[in-house]
């Protein structure tokens, strides 16, 4: 085999973008080398492989680098066609998955970010927006679970599952650090059940960092953001 299929993932343990790629590789059973990057002291490799953004994750496949987690996930799915397939075959269904993935990534994630980095009135506004958007997601995903049955196993995990997991998988940590209820079993029962189902997958359970480590990172991020915004 040798150099034929050398895969290296440059990532960071606490990054949701990095985590989704790591999981994708593990789910497909693709052997890879993982390189933990220090984002405060970026390596020559990251600057070389991603000169535009200088960010992780970067996937290097046989020496060729790919950046942007969603681009990487589609690349993985097209290159390793074994199960789980991250996108459906039907073009219309693919468009729907991409649409909701974009919604989770661009709207939910961004709003969540604001909730983490603000307090007072600004945070209240962001929380309200976040909960409204979660309701939109609750309605929207009914098209994926028409009979309300959520059946996710390591053979059918998809792009949307991976992205939702990376944003809200650790919702327990987020709720604890922020003191806010985010994923409410009563208000968003489908989203709640969906997250539970994904979080139960063995590969996910063993890949998610420990609660305390994630809580420490989130607290640190929040404190830093609040400090610099009031400075």
């Amino acid at each position: 085999m040798g150099e034929e299929n050398k895969v290296i993932l440059h990532g960071m343990w606490a990054s949701p973008f990095s985590k989704r790629v790591e999981l994708a590789l593990k789910l497909k059973g693709i052997p890879f080398e993982y390189v933990e990057e220090d984002l405060k002291n970026k390596s020559a490799e990251i600057l070389h492989y991603n000169p535009v953004h200088k960010k992780i994750p970067v996937l290097v496949h046989n020496g060729k680098p790919i950046a942007e987690s969603l681009v990487i996930l589609e690349y993985i799915d097209e290159t390793w066609k074994n199960n789980p397939r991250f996108l459906p075959q039907d073009p219309y269904k693919r468009a729907r998955v991409r649409f909701w993935t974009s919604f989770v990534q661009q709207h939910l994630f961004e709003t969540m970010f604001t909730v983490v980095k603000t307090d007072g009135e600004a945070q209240e506004k962001a929380v309200k927006e976040l909960l409204e958007k979660l309701q939109v997601l609750e309605e929207g995903i009914k098209e994926f679970f028409p009979d309300g049955n959520i059946c996710i196993d390591s053979n059918n995990v998809g792009l949307l599952d991976l992205v939702l997991l990376s944003v809200f998988g650790p919702y327990n940590v987020q709720e604890e650090v922020l003191g806010i209820k985010i994923i409410d079993m009563e208000k968003t029962p489908l989203v709640y059940s969906w997250l539970r189902a994904i979080n139960q997958l063995p590969l996910v359970k063993e890949s998610i960092p420990p609660h305390d480590k994630l809580a420490a990172v989130l607290k640190f991020m929040r404190e830093n953001a609040l400090k610099s915004s009031s400075a």
Binding site: P51, V52, I66, V71, T79, P91, Y92, A95, R98, F99
Partner: protein, 220 residues
Amino acid sequence: MAEVKLLATWPSPFYYRVVWALKSKGIAYEFIEEDLANKSPLLLQYNPVHKKIPVLIHGGKPICESMIILEYIEEIWPKNSLLPNDPYEKAVARFWIKFADDKSPEIWRVFRSVGEEQEKAAKDSLEMLKTIEEHALGEKKFFGGDKIGMVGIAFGQLAQWLQVIEDVTGVKLLEASEFPRLQRWINNFKQVPVINENLPDYDQMFAFFKGRRQMLLASK
């Protein structure tokens, strides 16, 4: 063949992305003009989440978000392909498509603002142009090759809307001497028949956006 309809507004650059993709593949479609100040039941039905255009309606099924529409068009009508076949080259193309989507709004911030805010937006816009000049455009005629593709279409706003923004605001961003590759790409892009024949009239665009900017600033 199932009917293709395109719900959009003139002169949205996102609308034109879809037009260029459809026309380059010879796909017939019906254009339905949307009034964004008075959103139609059709729009609310087909894009309830964002209530935005463009929306492609194929055989009665809606597809939203311009670049998602383009990927759909490419998959349904693979003739005159807009994406490379090779998965790696495709990934590189998608990287730049995402960059275009994420960063192009900067030029619209220049359009919508004044003073310090506009200065910052201009600075960010120049950063974006610089990145495209240095990293995205090699010596090839178009992004990644010798014919137009999804990346070029994604950056299409820079080919005409950018100039309108510059002329309406008086803020010059793209100096040909500083961005020779970009300028060359713009010239080449606008000469491609499917683009050339499907660009909004410059004077009409100028008048439209001049009016919009006046309204925006008056309301501040």
